[in-house]
């Protein structure tokens, strides 16, 4: 009984997040952090930020990727399946229901107004995710430069995140190699 309950917990935690997060995957980041780090204590804050980093660097959706990573970290493949299924299930049920019966729900004026309010709150939610993440992820001048460069490349130059991620990985290796050499010389 006890053995199975962790899978159920993974499923329900991500089901809860997936069913409440209106406004896309990024809205889920602070929710995942709240649930997984503060309430369930499944992983540390640093680990969650590294999962976001990896989740955003891979193809697909950061929210689903993060769920898969946390599930895998907890309980291997079955854990990954439980967490991912929990994340996907609400969409599947809600959208099937809407596609079958309410294809004009987006024209309802009350829903449109409610969504405008939600969208404004979504801005705050993602901004909070970025600020929290920046505090942990940007630790020196190199980080500030890289974050700025990545912002400019994506926002102004419209370069695909695929190339930005690869470029950033290479920059990381170059930076670490230089640091290592410097330390080496220092020790000699």
């Amino acid at each position: 009984m006890k053995k199975d309950s962790i899978y159920l917990e993974l499923f329900t935690s991500f089901f809860k997040i997936g069913s409440m997060a209106i406004g896309g995957g990024y809205v889920m980041l602070p929710m995942i952090q709240r649930e997984v780090v503060e309430i369930k204590k499944w992983c540390s804050e640093d680990e969650v930020y590294d999962f976001y980093t990896l989740g955003q660097s891979l193809p697909g959706m950061i929210s689903v990727n993060t769920a898969t990573l946390i599930g895998y970290q907890m309980k291997g493949l079955p854990g990954a399946i439980a967490a991912t299924a929990g994340m996907i299930m609400p969409s599947l049920v809600i959208i099937m229901f809407i596609a079958a019966f309410f294809t004009h729900i987006q024209e309802n004026p009350v829903i449109q107004r409610a969504f405008k309010g939600i969208r404004a709150a979504v801005v705050a939610t993602i901004a909070m995710a970025v600020i929290n993440m920046a505090k942990k992820s940007i630790v020196n001048m190199f980080g500030i430069l890289l974050a700025t460069a990545s912002f400019i490349c994506f926002f102004f130059l419209r370069i695909s995140p695929f190339y930005i991620v690869i470029g950033a990985g290479i920059m990381g290796i170059i930076y670490a190699a230089i640091e290592r050499r410097r330390e080496h010389e220092h020790n000699n």
Partner: protein
């Protein structure tokens, strides 16, 4: 028989979308539009409705879109097939990365070095998402086109909701889900 062919087309197309789109749900919209159009699955009006519905319903936008397109093509089975297909590539990739790279080389120089680069870059990428959502939520392009006045084009009630939500979540530690719900009710009552 034709349903089975539809399901195969659905699976392969959404698997491809899941494998090659970086940058989340919004990055997938042009890919999905292409697939839907070339297969004649939806009219452009239906497609626009689908995007609007995917955005106002909970869950990742890409999953919502996959479920919706799948349903239009082949009912509930189509939904399940498209959703699984779009999630599959990243899922498999993560299993491979975790099992064969991170578990074995977690402390290796290269894994650490790559993360040193990725962490700040991803902050930059998500910051773009903030700006994109903020422009849509807090700024009315149509009013700007009519009046060419930035001051009149700002949605001040929206800005108020954004600031209030930020304070509630950041300072008072209110759960983001509660914040979103309150903002929705507030919007339904006072937004126009």
């Amino acid at each position: 028989m034709s349903t089975i062919i539809d399901l195969v087309i659905l699976f392969t197309n959404f698997f491809y979308i899941g494998a090659f789109s970086f940058g989340g749900g919004n990055a997938m919209i042009p890919f999905i539009e292409d697939v839907v159009r070339s297969n004649g699955w939806m009219t452009s009006g239906q497609f626009a409705d689908m995007i609007a519905i995917s955005q106002i319903t909970p869950g990742p936008i890409a999953i919502n879109m996959a479920t919706y397109v799948g349903f239009n093509v082949a009912g509930p089975i189509g939904s399940v097939v498209a959703t699984l297909a779009v999630s599959c590539p990243a899922f498999i990739l993560i299993l491979i990365i975790m099992r064969f790279i991170l578990e074995k080389f977690n402390n290796s120089f290269y894994v650490k070095a790559v993360f040193i680069g990725l962490r700040p870059a991803v902050v930059g990428l998500i910051a773009v998402a903030v700006l994109n959502v903020a422009t849509i939520a807090l700024y009315n392009k149509e009013i700007y086109n009519q009046t060419s006045s930035v001051v009149q084009s700002i949605n001040y009630l929206g800005v108020f909701i954004t600031i209030a939500s930020f304070i509630a979540m950041y300072k008072w530690r209110i759960h983001p889900i509660k914040c979103i719900l309150v903002a929705g009710i507030f919007g339904a009552l006072f937004m126009n």
